[in-house]
């Protein structure tokens, strides 16, 4: 009943911004399709994963430069490697682990664990928590008094320079924002672009489609098939995103043999029942309907995204990021 209500909301006629006919149903990808080859419609309105990674790196470079300008300590951005870049892009890839584990090769080693990079820790590149920084640095970093949380924007730092609004974090974010726009049109900014932050339209469509599709009878039908397949393999689990409920090993540093065996059965059953293909097609339909309904607002997002892409590429060229 709730799903039916949702469809009405997503497809009702007469809303502003509609144009043309509703998109037709998405073709179901065949069983075993690599999720890396699947792209949900909303991704058109997100920064490409590569650009999100560059955005993050630039943000760190800009904050570091700003803090150094105040003569204050701040860790230098760690050097990127091909492995760290690939892992960072995975984190920004919408389909990565969205439907649970899907990669037969990965689960052979990692079970349900996310593949972990072995990084040699160095003092210079170790992650920093706010408490690791002296109070003077925290004041300039965030533009607030560390004790009271009150803004100190415009006041002078120890070296006599005025602290920018939002501190060095605020200054970096303004440099990375799409040029020629303001926060009213940019909306909640996230690492994946305009309106991808908390409360943003793009984030809403991405989350809404996930919830709606997972409750859609076409998808719950393949969940049942998958669950039966898992039961035949000796595992009692109801749906793919909650497959690890009974596994204690997932909180350990490494998977045990039992976890790996279950994860392998999980991937095999997903292939046999085509959970990924069906779910992807249904979720794409929900997203296409929402995109159609919000076409006018998303045209603004797209323009912002193009401007932000230009800003990121330009800054990356100047900063070698």
């Amino acid at each position: 009943m709730v799903t039916a209500a949702l469809v009405v909301v997503l497809t009702a006629c007469g809303g502003h911004g509609q144009a043309g006919a509703l998109p037709s149903g998405t073709a179901t990808p065949p069983p075993g399709t690599d999720v890396g080859a699947l792209h949900l419609p909303i991704e058109t309105y997100l920064l490409a994963p590569r650009l999100s990674v560059v955005h993050d790196r630039l943000r760190n470079v800009l904050i570091h430069a700003c803090m150094r300008g105040f003569g204050l300590p701040y860790p230098a951005p760690p050097a990127a490697t091909r492995a760290t870049d690939r892992a960072a892009m995975d984190a920004y890839t919408v389909m990565y682990r969205r439907y649970g584990v899907t990669d037969a090769r990965s689960v052979r080693t990692w079970g349900y664990h996310a593949p972990r990079l072995e990084v040699r820790a160095t003092r210079a590149s170790a992650p920093v928590r706010l408490g690791d920084l002296p109070a003077a640095a925290r004041r300039v970093l965030l533009g607030t008094d560390p004790a009271s949380g009150v803004s100190v924007a415009g006041r002078t730092a120890q070296n006599g320079r005025p602290i920018p609004p939002g501190g060095c974090v605020g200054a970096a974010d303004r440099r990375l924002a799409p040029s020629g726009s303001d926060s009213a049109t940019r909306g909640p900014q996230g690492p994946q672009g305009p309106q991808s932050g908390p409360g943003g339209l793009v984030a809403a469509i991405k989350s809404d489609s996930f919830a709606a599709s997972a409750a859609d009878p076409r998808v719950t039908g393949v969940f049942s098939n998958w669950s039966s397949c898992m039961q035949a393999a000796g595992y009692r689990v109801s749906d793919p995103v909650h497959a690890t409920g009974a596994l204690a090993s997932v909180t350990a540093a490494k998977p045990d043999t039992g976890e790996i065996a279950q994860a392998q059965a999980d991937v095999a059953c997903k292939t046999r029942t085509n959970v990924v293909g069906v779910w992807f097609a249904v979720e794409s339909d929900y997203q296409n309907a929402a995109i159609h309904k919000n076409a006018k607002a998303l045209a603004v997002v797209k323009a912002e995204l193009t401007r932000q892409t230009d800003v990121i590429n330009s800054l990356a060229e100047r900063n070698g990021a």
């Binding site: 984190a91 682990r97 996310a114 909306g187 900014q189 932050g197 908390p198 997932v250 919000n294």
Partner: protein, 152 residues
């Protein structure tokens, strides 16, 4: 049961979509002024991140400072005795979060970092609009700034 919760969630989020669109199309809607993101101010700075029972980093809190920088299942954690929601289980019961590290922090719908997710940039806090009361795991997830940390 999980699917029923998702269905209820779908209805809630769909209702919110109209509000969000209004914010984009309008010019002075407060929602568009990034009010749900702020420089972290409450989370104890020895932590990587904090979750809060209420919006705006208010209500009872859960701070996490262990070196692994990840929580696989928030169902195993309860809020501290420091506000509304004190002592309650955190899973599906958080409305905001703060990141007090120089790493991105991810928050996921399901345990073990799967399903839909939301993000916090380094040093930032935010309301979990779409995963609010519907989250199960959280971790540092940033192979650009913090490679090898979190999601163990």
């Amino acid at each position: 049961m999980a699917v029923r919760r998702l269905a209820a969630r779908a209805g809630l989020v769909a209702g919110m979509l109209g509000l969000v669109v209004g914010g984009v199309a309008g010019t002075a809607d407060a929602r568009s002024d990034n009010i749900s993101s702020w420089n972290s101010y409450r989370c104890n700075t020895v932590n990587w991140f904090c979750l809060y029972y209420s919006q705006g980093a208010s209500g009872a809190s859960l701070g996490y400072q262990h070196a692994d920088a990840d929580i696989h299942n928030l169902g195993n954690y309860t809020y501290a005795n420091d506000g509304a929601g004190a002592g309650q289980v955190v899973r599906n019961n958080a409305a905001s979060a703060e990141d007090v590290s120089d790493c991105n922090v991810g928050i996921w719908y399901a345990p073990n970092f799967t399903g839909d997710s939301e993000w916090l940039n380094p040093w930032m806090g935010g309301d979990l609009t779409f995963l609010s009361n519907n989250e199960a795991s959280i971790s540092v997830d940033d192979n650009t700034n913090c490679p090898g940390r979190g999601m163990h």
